[in-house]
């Protein structure tokens, strides 16, 4: 996973947070973001999308058999 150094001049920092607090908040934010996206990643994929992929797979199979 990529890391971000949050260097001065590379986007700036909130003016009202000391460096150590800013680093801590930034790290916590990264964790919260990752957890948030993980929660979506772990959701079941909706049936309509799995059905769509299944239709694509079936079409590929038909094409492959036809080409062979």
């Amino acid at each position: 996973m990529a890391r971000d150094d949050n260097k001065p001049g590379d986007g700036g920092k909130p003016m009202n947070l000391p460096g150590a607090e800013q680093k801590s908040a930034s790290k916590a934010l990264s964790t919260a973001l990752r957890n948030t996206y993980d929660s979506v990643l772990n959701e079941p994929v909706p049936q309509r999308l799995t059905d769509l992929v299944a239709r694509i797979r079936a079409e590929e199979e038909r094409r492959r058999k036809r080409d062979n």
């Binding site: 996973m1 908040a25 916590a28 996206y37 772990n42 994929v45 694509i56």
Partner: protein, 177 residues
């Protein structure tokens, strides 16, 4: 997430799509903010990928290609202004906790709403890099910009989100990113 790197034939497309569906959904959710619209976007992406398969460079990894298709679909829809989920300040004020901190913000919906409130260029960068673990180079390939630009955008997005938490904790209206 394990990306399929080099699809050998079109016969592998369904498997590659299936493997990337969860991440495509997460990226779409971060872009448009609405679960149903995000899944519509993924559905359109899958169909578009099938149509464009002949244009895919098989020497390139599949993941950035798929995510770039989704991004383009989103931007086209946003230009048509019928699918973009805009968060007004009033909605933000109503939905986001005034005493939220990054540590306390465990609610995925609220976190995604904060991401969705960012400008699109920051939103997509933070979604790909911090949310989904893309490298700066991969994210740059998806967004069509250099890795350094992605790094800068992620830093700005991170600062904006941290500032938003801080300002809300202090009871002030967050400033625009």
């Amino acid at each position: 997430m394990q990306a399929v790197e080099h699809p050998p034939t079109s016969a592998a497309l369904a498997g590659m799509l299936e493997e990337n569906l969860p991440a495509l959904r997460a990226y779409a959710r971060g872009l448009c903010g609405n679960p149903t619209l995000a899944d519509d976007l993924v559905q359109d992406t899958v169909l578009r990928a099938c149509e464009k398969l002949d244009t895919f460079d098989r020497d390139r990894p599949i993941r950035p290609w798929l995510f770039a298709i989704l991004r383009n679909e989103f931007l086209q829809d946003a230009r048509r202004s019928w699918r973009r989920m805009e968060l007004t300040e009033a909605i933000c004020d109503r939905e986001l906790l005034t005493d939220a901190t990054p540590e306390s913000c465990s609610d995925a919906r609220r976190m995604l709403e904060m991401v969705t409130a960012l400008p699109v260029d920051l939103r997509e960068s933070v979604s790909l890099v911090l949310g989904l673990g893309f490298t700066y180079e991969e994210a740059g390939e998806v967004c069509g910009v250099p890795a350094g630009t992605i790094k800068s955008r992620v830093s700005r997005a991170r600062s904006a989100l941290v500032a938003s938490f801080e300002e809300r904790a202090a009871g002030r209206t967050p400033t625009a990113a």
